[in-house]
Structures are given as structure tokens and as C-alpha cells.
């Protein structure tokens, strides 16, 4: 399975967001619509509950959240792994609920917050394997320090893929793959196997086009395995 078909398959899955609100449209509503996520609006009286959001897969409601819980999408929190003080609990909720939702027209910053969430999970578990494709190694430049912390404070195995256009620093625990990286070039991919706890597995697949990204993140061990298998196959 190619990364493009992974994205396409998920796009076909009926992931729906229902917003319950009064007369005034919400900022998040416009944001979601602009990023290719189907939004349905349900009117509730303004003297009733505050606006809230329901996330559905097919006809099943998988979660109900306050509007402020998804505001992390509008302003993604960017933190170093392990430094969680500034990140709302809401962002974790968002990560869980909107997994496998295909977002389009995403800025680099949007998915950077997602990749932080994945790296942070790897940091917390402290073991296992993390694969990351950075398109080019020079893109990894700004992240090198983050990965140094990640590897010195844990026993993670990290594999970095990127086209050789910069000499990255040697970090114990980090293996660079430049030869096989070309096949990942338009993609920004992250996969963490969860170490000995498969339920901690998570990943990100995003395709770049004209500085905009289309992709998804996932908590599903099966999908993460599909992603990481692509890395393994490339190495062999």
C-alpha cells in the first residue's frame, strides 16, 4: 500500500464533525471547512448549552467535546518532547478524536504540533522505534536538538530518512538513511511502534504540495504498522 492510497482510503471513510451552536458561526467551523473536513451544523437555542462538537464515524458518535478543546487546531501548541506544561489536555483529546481524519491545506506548523504529540508519546514510553522522514535532511536541521534530547533521555531507536543535502550531527541512537529517502520525498512521515506497548503506537502521514500538506495522523496500531512496514521494506 502506498502512502497516497492510505490517504485516499481514509478520505473515503465517513468522518463527520457536527457542530451544535446558536446563530453565530464558529471560527473552527470555517477552519475545518477550509481544511477539507465535512462539517454539519445543528442549531441550538442560545439560552441552552454553550456550543459543542460531536465527532462521528459513519453514524456512530465517537466523541463529544467542548469547542475550546479543538481550538488547538487553530493555534497548534509547539513544545519540546517532555515539556507538556504549556500544552492543554485538550490537544491530546483532539489527537485522539480526529485521528484518521484527512486534513488538506495544512500549514507546516499544523502538522508540526502533531509530530510533537507523537515524539512526546515516544519520549514518555521511553523505548521502541521511531521512524521519521523529513523529505530532506536540511529540514531535519531545526529538529536536530529535539531529537538529541529525545535520544539522550530515553532508550529509543530513531531512524531518520531524508535526501542528503546537509550533514546532520551524530546523535547516539539516531540512524540516518539517505539512499532510500528519495521514495519518501513528497511525504512527511512519522511512525512510532509504541515499544512493548502497542496501544501507544501512533503516526503521521502528510503529503506536501506547494508548501501545503494533506494528510492524517493515527493512533491505530494496525495503520502504524502499515506505515512502518514501508520503512522496513525500504531498508532491506
Amino acid at each position: 500500500m502506498t502512502f497516497a492510497s492510505l490517504i485516499d482510503d481514509l478520505r473515503e471513510e465517513e468522518h463527520q464533525i457536527v457542530i451544535y451552536r446558536g446563530d453565530d458561526p464558529l471560527e473552527i467551523e470555517t477552519w475545518l471547512a477550509e481544511h477539507g473536513v465535512a462539517v454539519e451544523c445543528h442549531w441550538i437555542t442560545s439560552d441552552g448549552p454553550d456550543p459543542f462538537i460531536e465527532i462521528k464515524t459513519g453514524s456512530e458518535v465517537i466523541g463529544t467535546i467542548r469547542v475550546d478543546a479543538v481550538e488547538g487546531l487553530l493555534e497548534p501548541p509547539i513544545d519540546r518532547p517532555g515539556d507538556r506544561d504549556g500544552v492543554s489536555e485538550g490537544y491530546g483529546v483532539l489527537f485522539e478524536l480526529l485521528e484518521k481524519t484527512v486534513f488538506s491545506g495544512m500549514a507546516r506548523r499544523d502538522f508540526l504540533a502533531v509530530s510533537r504529540e507523537i515524539e512526546d508519546r515516544a519520549y514518555r514510553v521511553g523505548e521502541g522505534t521511531l521512524w521519521a522522514s523529513f523529505q530532506t535532511l536540511s529540514t531535519f536541521k531545526s529538529q536536530a536538538e529535539v531529537y538529541r534530547i529525545l535520544c539522550t533521555e530515553t532508550s529509543l531507536n530513531v531512524h531518520i530518512y531524508g535526501v542528503d543535502d546537509w550533514s546532520p550531527p551524530l546523535i547516539p541512537g539516531v540512524t540516518y538513511h539517505t539512499e532510500s529517502a528519495t521514495r519518501f520525498e513528497p511525504y512527511w512521515i512519522l511512525a512510532y511502534d509504541g515499544g512493548s506497548d502497542r496501544s501507544q503506537a501512533c503516526g503521521l502521514v502528510a503529503q506536501e504540495e506547494n508548501d501545503e500538506y494533506t494528510g492524517f495522523w493515527t493512533n491505530d496500531p494496525q495503520t502504524v504498522e502499515t506505515i512502518s512496514n514501508r520503512f522496513w521494506k525500504t531498508d532491506r
Partner: protein, 175 residues
């Protein structure tokens, strides 16, 4: 001999000339006469305005205000919220009411999200407790088969009470 006569009239308005005339005849029949054959103009105990209002609203008061079942139905936050929502939308479904109750909880409670398990717990309480209780009190029409919930025409005072009880919830939060 001068008598102090105290006459209590139960009336929604100031006694008219005709009523005064009738009263005069009634009192004469028990041998009570007035100077110049006239009732004194100042009537004791008549409170202009307030009596009129009390009396008027008493007539409009719904009989269910005297029923225990009504208070039992109203003695639950989710049930008042259901009624409040129905007053606006008129007709709803079990699914929609579950969503509204669930959303109402996440917007007022400390938790940021409700899981599918939370949702099904709300739905179970809705189907097995809240809706039958409200239907028994004749505050809603509920068809379990179709899951359609409607609100019958309700007395203004009942609607007022429902709206006020929900409005008071947000006052609590503000305090």
C-alpha cells in the same frame, strides 16, 4: 344605635354600582340600614390592583401545578434541559436529545470530552427514565418505536418555569 358593619367582598374588581345595590338590599333584609340608604364609599380591605392580578393568575394557573407527578418530572436537571430544548425545536429524536444532553454536560462539567461509553450511559437514562417520566407527566409525547419526541401545547406558566429553571443553572455558574 350605630353599628360598625364590616363587609368582605370577594371580587376581582371594585364593586360596581349594581353590586353595591344588591348588597344594600341584602343588608336591609337583615335589618341593617344606612344613612341616606347608601353604602359607605370607602370599603375596607379593598386593595386596588394587587387583588386583581392575584385573582387573574389564579384562574390561569395550570392544574398540574398542584400535582406531585409534575414536580417529580421536573425534579431532574436533564429532564428540565430536555423540556427546554423541546420548547425551541418542538420535535426531536432520542438521538438528538442524547447529543444535546451529552453536549450540555461537556460544556458545563470539568471534563473536556465524552466518550461513546458516556454517550450510551446518557442514552440509557434517557430511554429508560427521563422520557417515560416526562411522558407520564404529560409534558411530552414520546413514541418509543420511532424515537420521536414532541412537546404538546403547554401552559404559559409551565413554559416560563422550564425556561427559568434552565436560566437559573447558568446563574449558578456565574456566581
Amino acid at each position: 344605635v350605630t353599628w360598625n358593619v364590616c363587609v368582605w367582598l370577594q371580587s376581582g374588581s371594585k364593586p360596581s354600582g349594581r353590586r353595591r345595590e344588591e348588597l344594600l338590599i341584602l343588608l336591609q333584609s337583615v335589618n341593617i340600614y344606612f344613612t341616606n340608604n347608601r353604602l359607605p364609599l370607602v370599603m375596607n380591605g379593598y386593595r386596588e390592583g394587587s387583588d386583581q392580578r392575584d385573582h387573574a393568575s389564579k384562574e390561569e394557573l395550570p392544574s398540574r401545578f398542584a400535582e406531585d407527578q409534575f414536580y417529580q418530572a421536573m425534579a431532574s436537571t436533564p429532564r428540565r434541559r430536555i423540556l427546554h430544548h423541546l420548547l425551541t425545536v418542538r420535535e426531536s429524536t432520542v438521538e438528538e436529545l442524547t447529543s444535546v444532553l451529552s453536549g450540555w454536560e461537556v460544556t458545563t462539567a470539568e471534563t473536556t470530552m465524552h466518550t461513546p461509553e458516556d454517550r450510551s450511559a446518557i442514552k440509557v437514562r434517557l430511554v429508560h427514565n427521563h422520557l417515560p417520566t416526562l411522558a407520564d407527566a404529560e409534558l411530552i409525547d414520546y413514541e418509543p418505536d420511532s424515537g420521536v419526541v414532541q412537546v404538546p401545547p403547554l401552559n404559559t406558566e409551565v413554559k416560563h418555569l422550564i425556561r427559568q429553571s434552565v436560566a437559573a443553572e447558568s446563574n449558578d455558574e456565574a456566581e
